[in-house]
Symmetry: C2
Subunit: 86 residues, 2 copies
């Protein structure tokens, strides 16, 4: 049995997001015009043996703040146990 | 009022994930040892005017399949309206 924690890291709103802008620019080529803005960040799957515990979540938050996000330009927006290992 | 759709794109399980491996390798330096594996993918925020509709979700799925994920190495694992604009 394997547990999974999902961590999402996104660029801070005030930070220029060239990748998001690039995506926004090409969406019309695939017929997509509904969106007013696009931001691109990072998503991590951290897997553990057995079910996810509070200790696992605390380590994931610590890893996210210390390593997975650059605090100058990014925010950790989500650290959650996945429902089941999708 | 602004609605938001979150799209997550992850490397396919069978695909080598060097970035995930690199993160896995440095986690012990910040005292994190709980995780058996790490995978790194992409996360997108697609914003719309007003609330998210089925049409918006359909366009987001289309954009994800056509543009945001490389079908050879990545899977679209999530296309969901955010609860409220976090």
């Amino acid at each position: 049995m394997m547990g999974r924690i999902i961590v999402e890291v996104m660029p801070k709103p005030e930070i220029l997001d060239p990748q998001g802008k690039a995506v926004m620019g090409v969406l019309p080529r695939v017929g997509v015009t509904a969106f007013t803005s696009v931001r691109q960040g990072k998503c991590f799957y951290l897997d553990v043996e057995g079910t996810v515990t509070e200790e696992h979540l605390a380590q994931a938050r610590h890893a996210a703040e210390e390593l997975l996000a650059n605090p100058n330009i990014e925010s950790v927006v989500r650290v959650e146990a996945a429902e089941e290992n999708k």
